[in-house]
């Protein structure tokens, strides 16, 4: 029904190319998140989909129709902006019904659609208010209400939660997700926050410098990152990475880290003795326990967060983050043994950053 496809999409601002040949598909009803650091091109891509930026090369298609030459208003999309972009001189009801008013729709129909959207978003008591009288979260909901009234083929979100405080952000995340489950409209969501991406997406598109690094479900990206960038971008705290050399003996394999420390490798790990690698392991896959292959680490900082404890330790010259359940007895300055889950080790080529399978 309302699938979206990008084919060889490119974008240049003058002589500077910012998007390089991007191509992927979004299935109908899917919640796709574009995530990446500032300047990676995710907002630009979204805006090209919305018709707010020209497409320098390639095609974008909605529901099977190429939309390169079609104006925003005819693409049957709705967009929620980071700054909400509510019309300050109109009431909430007028804001939400504006698109219908532009098409000279029947006022009764407009009222019904607005009322329906207001009910879904708990905005009914605010319909006669003006945007300046509302809180940030309420304004965000009005912006979403405006999009819902459109009943479009695709919802576009451009970092909608960036202007909200942390607690509100968590609440709104769940609301947006619930909305999607209810309406089942294809959604493209842009954010720089990987936590939002992980919690909300059906599929995530990780971007950097105008290129796709990896596309996959949240858990795919978490468990099987295609390269160093994705590995360190997804997951919080970020994956620990040390560079070193693989060493093999008769019955053991490990990596000698450049900064010091003997990092164990699993039995399934390939790579001959002497290969240079980047060795990655997530903080939650490290433990504090004595064992045959444990690595001595000096504790620098202990950060208890209640259920878990985050430890910053030093192995040789490398600083390593460890997240453990419970409250291990560890004092700054003490030496603790680190254990590594052998199934959770990621090896990358140190120059290209690609995963070594």
């Amino acid at each position: 029904m309302a699938a979206v496809s990008f084919r060889e999409v490119e974008k240049s601002f003058g002589a500077t190319k910012v998007i390089h040949g991007i191509g992927f598909d979004i299935a109908d009803g899917e919640f796709t998140v574009l995530v990446g650091p500032s300047g990676c091109g995710k907002s630009t891509l979204l805006r090209m989909l919305a018709g707010l930026e020209e497409i320098s090369g390639g095609t974008i298609a909605i529901d099977g129709h190429v939309v390169n030459d079609i104006e925003s208003k005819d693409r049957d999309i709705a967009m929620v902006f980071q700054s909400y972009a509510l019309y300050p001189h109109m009431t909430v009801a007028d804001n939400m019904g504006f698109s219908l008013r532009l098409r000279k729709a029947d006022p009764a129909l407009t009222k019904e659609r607005v009322g329906h959207a207001a009910k879904i978003l708990n905005l009914v008591p605010y319909l006669a208010r003006y945007p300046r009288e509302l809180s940030g979260g309420q304004r965000q909901r009005v912006a979403m209400g405006r999009a819902i009234v459109r009943d479009p083929k695709v919802f576009l979100f451009d970092e909608p939660l960036s202007n909200l405080d942390a607690k509100l952000r968590v609440a709104m995340r769940a609301e947006i997700k619930a909305l999607h489950q209810r309406l089942k409209t294809t959604t493209v969501y842009v954010t720089h926050d990987q936590v939002e991406a992980m919690t909300m997406a059906d599929r995530i598109v990780v971007m950097q410098d105008g290129r796709i690094e990896q596309i996959g479900t949240p858990l795919e990206l978490y468990d099987h990152p295609a390269n160093l960038f994705v590995a360190q971008f997804i997951g919080s705290p970020a994956m620990n990475v040390v560079t070193g050399t693989i060493r093999r003996s008769a019955d053991d394999a490990w990596v000698d880290a450049d900064g010091g420390g003997r990092w164990p490798l699993g039995s399934s790990a390939s790579g001959s003795d002497g290969t240079r690698v980047a060795y990655g392991v997530r903080p939650s896959d490290l433990g504090v326990a004595a064992g045959a292959r444990s690595i001595p680490a000096e504790v620098i900082v202990v950060e208890p967060t209640g259920a878990e404890t985050e430890l910053l330790v030093r192995v040789g010259t490398n600083e390593i983050v460890v997240v453990v359940h419970g409250r291990p007895s560890a004092e700054p300055g003490a030496t603790v043994p680190l254990t590594v889950d052998p199934n959770a080790i990621h090896l990358f080529d140190p120059t290209s950053g690609q995963t070594l399978s």
Binding site: K73, A85, F98, L102
Partner: protein, 283 residues
């Protein structure tokens, strides 16, 4: 007297020392105007500070046009009103459209046009007066009220565009984008989103153009020479050349001429102040 009370009193006295001369300086010519307007004929020249028998007779004479200098008072007053309102309205229309095109539609060459407008604003109007006079002659518009209206529009529009553009630039671009995605055509964006939000600035600009046209002397004097088609201001100026001018009537007429701009300015004060100082004080 306690120390703080003394300090308060002395600082208040210092302020009054400034305030009273300022008040006298500001109001003296205007007070004098009122003085003459309220004095009976031939009495004002006696140099009294307040007339013995203040009277409104002068105004009656003016309203009944009972002096050969005042023959066309009502017509001239009407001319002033007409020209001022027309100049204000036309300036507003042209400037609002131009500011929208430059600021929101980002029309090509918009920046250049803005600079040209600014240039026109800074060049003193008095220098343009004689060329304008000859030009209106060439266009065959001399003595037509349109000459003055269009001249005033030409002078007022640059600053109007500047003020409107500044105000328009403060509106976030996302509003336009949201409206476009909602399905607005350029005209709908202009009518339903832009104009309502620009209303305060538009009031300031319209008032500015109106007052400019009402207060104008040089251009009115050059472009309109017929007593019937000229403005009240020019008529007042022509009183001067005669020896037997009825001074009290002149001042009464002058007071009538001066009242509308003062009233309008005070009515729209809050729009004017923000509008006019915005361009000058860079934040």
């Amino acid at each position: 007297m306690s120390r703080s009370l003394w300090r308060q009193a002395s600082s208040e006295a210092k302020l009054l020392l400034i305030g009273i001369p300022v008040a006298i300086w500001t109001l003296l010519p205007i007070y004098h105007l009122v003085l003459f307007a309220l004095s009976p004929r031939g009495q004002a020249v006696t140099g009294k500070l307040w007339p013995d028998h203040p009277t409104l007779d002068n105004f009656a004479v003016v309203f009944h046009q009972e002096h050969h200098y005042l023959l066309h008072f009502w017509k001239q007053l009407w001319n002033s009103v007409l020209i001022a309102v027309a100049a204000g309205a036309i300036t507003l229309c042209i400037a609002t459209a131009a500011a929208f095109a430059i600021s929101r539609l980002r029309v090509r060459g918009g920046r250049t046009i803005m600079n040209l407008a600014l240039f026109t604003y800074f060049i003193p109007a008095a220098f343009l007066a004689v060329p304008m006079y000859k030009t209106m002659g060439n266009y065959g518009l001399l003595n037509s009220q349109w000459a003055l209206i269009l001249a005033m529009v030409t002078i007022a529009t640059p600053y109007a565009i500047w003020v409107l553009k500044q105000a328009s630039d403060k509106l976030p671009l996302e509003l336009d984008e949201a409206a476009r995605i909602d399905g607005a055509t350029p005209l709908q964006l202009f009518r339903l989103v832009y104009l309502p939000l620009m209303l305060p600035s538009m009031v300031a600009v319209g008032t500015y153009a109106l007052l400019l046209a009402w207060n104008e002397y040089l251009y009115a004097f050059l472009l309109l020479s017929d007593d019937r088609s000229t403005t009240l201001g020019v008529a007042l100026g022509s009183f001067l050349s005669a020896d037997d001018s009825p001074w009290e009537l002149l001042m009464a007429t002058g007071l009538l001429y001066a009242l509308p701009p003062a009233a309008i300015y005070y009515a729209f004060k809050r729009y004017m102040v923000s509008g006019l100082t915005a361009g000058a004080v860079k934040s």
